[in-house]
Structure formats: structure tokens, C-alpha cells
């Protein structure tokens, strides 16, 4: 279980990848996933904290939360459509 205590269907470990790598990984997971899936992105790129929530809003999904963990951020997204 992650820090937000949400059951996760898929975790993308994009640590070490630079912008736009984590976002592109999330987009791939959204394309492959089912509506209702909870997807966690782990990113060590500080830009992801800004870019990914903006993309989630534009794409019509739900930002469940962003948590800072040990040297990276965990961003949790629910696929809504």
C-alpha cells in the first residue's frame, strides 16, 4: 500500500527519467489501462509535480494525490474515461 492508502493497479517507476519521460510513461499506462484503474507514477524529476497534474486536468482524469517520498514523488491518478 502506498502512503495515500489507495489500492494501486499499476505502478510506473520513472525514477531517473527526465521530463517528459514520466509523463509519457503515464500516458502509455492510461492508454493501456481500464476506466477506474489507479495508476501511481514515481518520478525523481521535479517538473513532474507540475506537468503531470496539469496533464491529468486537461485529459479529464482524477489526481488522487501527490506525496513526496525518499528522493522522489509519488503521483496517483485515477483513469476516468
Amino acid at each position: 500500500m502506498n502512503v495515500l492508502e489507495v489500492p494501486i493497479n499499476r505502478t510506473i517507476d520513472a525514477r531517473g527519467s527526465y521530463c517528459p519521460g514520466p509523463l509519457m510513461e503515464l500516458i502509455r499506462a492510461i492508454r493501456e489501462g481500464q476506466v477506474g484503474d489507479m495508476i501511481a507514477v514515481w518520478s525523481s524529476d521535479s517538473g513532474s509535480r507540475l506537468d503531470i497534474p496539469k496533464w491529468i486536468e486537461k485529459a479529464g482524469h482524477r489526481l488522487v494525490g501527490v506525496e513526496t517520498r525518499d528522493g522522489y514523488d509519488e503521483i496517483i491518478v485515477e483513469k476516468l474515461r
Binding site: 527519467s17 521530463c19 517528459p20 500516458i27 496533464w55 486537461k58 485529459a59 479529464g60
Partner: protein, 384 residues
């Protein structure tokens, strides 16, 4: 006998082979080392010229030379497709039952376009990632009489990141010259939240888009093309009608490295940022488009990586440590960027230092033209 096999005769493969035979001249002359380049067609293509075919300033025949003519005489050339890499046996199998043993393998296998991954791409969208496609785009531009032009990116990463912006600026300039600009709407679609991946370049390019009246659509990840309604639709739910659609096709790495278990399905080889070793395989190096490095997929990247790979492989052959200024790669890339109206700028950066593009001027545009013309005599032969 140390056998070095280089897969791919593009910028990276050709340059690294030529640099290696210089470094290992005495070993090769004594028969203690060999350098073999494997290239599918035995032709070297100058891909940055494709964009200029689309803009009507270049001819396909000027972008092609025989690979043999660019290689030092000490480099062996095998023309054929590398069908299989066996990392356990350290062999590369070519079509036609030829098998090459290697002690050091250099993967310069580049990237390939896969337009077929998006339905209707090949019949609806134009691009400039091949000589024939660029010529078709030229014909479409010649036939264009005003309407809506949509330019976008249908998958990341892709070759030459500035190219779709450059093409947008150059098309806009052409339309003004032809008196069609007022009859044309132009739209530029970026998959991310700004015009370009690197923030400083985005900050330079965004005002130019505004000044030229090209509407920027961010977070536009091409999902489908509707040929009936002439619409391109994004994953994010936006749709744009077009009369002329220009899309960078999706790209993948070489299938042979995926089949060998060296790369994930995307084909981009997990590569150490500084040693350029393929992770987990100290006897295999990668350079150019083939890697998963967070850098531009561009000939320039391969150009600056090649001396590092040559130094490290030569050191391994001689049983010494790599030394000198090419012992490690620091992510250096340098490329020109056209902004239209006969002007250009320069992007120069590395892992630690983002580009600070100078104000666009005529000099950098001319620099790009001169570089393109002199390429054959300089880069592949290691003269600059």
C-alpha cells in the same frame, strides 16, 4: 585478435569506426584487431536534409553516398541486415547465413518510424522522415491553396526534436511569400505542456509561434485520425480539423536489439549516461538514436558520443583505462534551429547545462546550410 563489430552505418556507426581504426592502427596492421561495420544497404543517408526536400531546397540524390566511400580503408564493411544478436555466444547473424563473432559490439542501430501504429496515418498525414515522404509533402504544399494546416507530433521520443517547429516556421514563411498566409490557419500540437521539451528552447520558440500567428495546442497526444471528417483527435479529448496534416510519426528502436533481450519493446537501449555501455553488458556500447538517454535523437548527439565510444572501446582492446577528454560522455549536443525568414539559432547543451539559444539571426541559418553542404567531408571522417 580483438574483433569489434559496429551495427549501423549512420553518423554514429561510421564515425566511431573511423575513429577506432585511427586509435588502433598498429593493432589492426599487425592483425591483432579488426573493425567491421554492418549496414543493411551500404548507403549512408544524411537525414537532416529530408526537411529541406519538403521545403523545396534539396534533392534526394544529394543526401546519399555509398557507406564504403566514407569509411577508412582499414574498416571492413558487411552489407546486409543484422538479423540476430546472441549476447551469450557473442555473435551477430546476418541475413544469408553470415555470422560475425565479436569481442566488442557497438550498437548504432538508430531509430525507425512506425506510422502504421496510428490508423490512417499513412493515407492522411504527411511527414518528412524519409526522402519519399518529404517529396510527397512538397507536392502537397505545392497544391495547397489555403485552409487549415495542423502540424503535430504523434509519439515521443522522435528524431530531431526541433524539426516540427522548424517546419512550422518554414511553411509559414513560404505561405507568406506565396500570398496564402491570410487564407491559412496554422496549428501546432505539442504532446507536453509547452512548445518544446527543453524549457529554455520553449521560451524562445513560443513567442515566435505567437508572432507568426501559429496557434499552440499543448498536451495534444495524437490518438486517432478520422479521414471522413478530416479531424485529428487527441488522447486528451481535443479534435482539430485539417486540410493539410503534418505529423511526426511514432518512432521505435531497432527490433534486433529487442529480440536479443537488450532493450524493452520500445527498442531504446538502456545506456549508461557517461560510459555509453549498454547496462549489464560491459562489452556492448550504444550511441545515437539507439539509446534511451534523455537527449535529442539527432546526428549531433551521435557525433559527440562517437569519440567517447571509440576511446572506451580502444581502451578495452588495449587493456587500459579510458583517458583524456573523451573518457566520459557529458551529454554534449549542438544543433542549429531554423526559425524561418532566413534566420536560425543554435542549441548547445549537455546533461548539466540547458541550452541558452542566442537571438535568431541570419548567421545561424547560414551556419546550418554550410554544415549541411560540407557534412560529407567533415563529420563521418572525424574532421570536426
Amino acid at each position: 585478435m580483438q574483433r569489434i563489430v559496429v551495427l549501423g552505418g549512420g553518423v554514429g556507426g561510421t564515425l566511431v569506426a573511423n575513429l577506432l581504426v585511427r586509435k588502433l592502427k598498429s593493432e589492426i596492421d599487425r592483425g591483432n584487431a579488426s573493425v567491421t561495420v554492418v549496414d543493411e544497404k551500404g548507403e549512408h543517408i544524411y537525414q537532416p536534409g529530408f526537411m529541406y526536400i519538403a521545403m523545396g531546397n534539396e534533392k534526394p540524390e544529394r543526401l546519399k553516398r555509398s557507406e564504403r566511400s566514407l569509411l577508412d580503408d582499414r574498416v571492413r564493411l558487411e552489407v546486409g541486415r543484422a538479423a540476430k544478436i546472441d549476447v551469450e555466444k557473442r555473435t551477430v547473424s546476418l541475413d544469408g547465413d553470415r555470422v560475425l563473432d565479436y569481442d566488442q559490439l557497438i550498437l548504432a542501430t538508430g531509430s525507425r518510424i512506425v506510422p502504421e501504429e496510428i490508423e490512417h496515418f499513412e493515407t492522411e498525414a504527411h511527414h518528412f522522415y524519409g526522402a519519399d515522404a518529404a517529396a510527397r509533402l512538397r507536392s502537397a504544399l505545392d497544391a495547397f491553396n489555403g485552409g487549415r494546416i495542423v502540424i503535430g507530433i504523434a509519439g515521443m521520443p522522435y528524431k530531431c526534436p526541433p524539426a516540427p517547429l522548424e517546419v512550422s516556421f518554414l511553411i509559414e514563411h513560404e505561405l507568406r511569400q506565396r500570398g496564402l498566409r491570410k487564407k491559412t490557419e496554422m496549428h501546432y500540437c505539442s504532446p507536453i505542456g509547452r512548445a518544446f521539451t527543453i524549457e529554455s528552447v520553449s521560451e524562445m520558440a513560443t513567442p515566435i509561434l505567437e508572432e507568426k500567428g501559429i496557434e499552440l495546442h499543448t498536451f495534444f497526444n495524437v490518438e486517432t485520425i478520422d479521414p471522413e471528417r478530416k479531424l485529428v483527435q487527441s488522447l486528451e479529448g481535443e479534435e482539430l480539423p485539417y486540410d493539410l496534416l503534418v505529423l511526426v510519426p511514432p518512432h521505435r528502436g531497432a527490433q534486433v536489439v529487442v529480440d536479443a533481450g537488450l532493450a524493452p519493446p520500445s527498442g531504446w537501449l538502456p545506456t549508461d549516461h557517461h560510459t555509453l555501455e549498454v547496462k549489464g553488458h560491459p562489452e556492448i556500447h550504444a550511441l545515437g538514436d539507439a539509446t534511451d538517454l534523455p537527449l535529442s535523437k539527432a546526428g549531433s548527439t551521435a557525433h559527440f558520443e562517437a569519440p567517447v565510444v571509440a576511446e572506451r572501446v580502444a581502451a578495452a582492446v588495449r587493456g587500459r583505462q579510458p583517458h583524456g577528454k573523451h573518457a566520459r560522455y557529458e551529454g554534449k549536443v549542438m544543433c542549429f534551429f531554423e526559425v524561418g525568414d532566413g534566420k536560425g539559432t543554435l542549441l548547445q547543451f549537455d546533461y548539466e547545462h540547458p541550452p541558452r539559444p542566442p537571438k535568431p539571426n541570419r548567421l545561424w541559418h547560414l551556419g546550418k546550410i554550410v554544415f549541411n553542404k560540407t557534412y560529407w567531408h567533415t563529420v563521418p571522417r572525424g574532421r570536426i
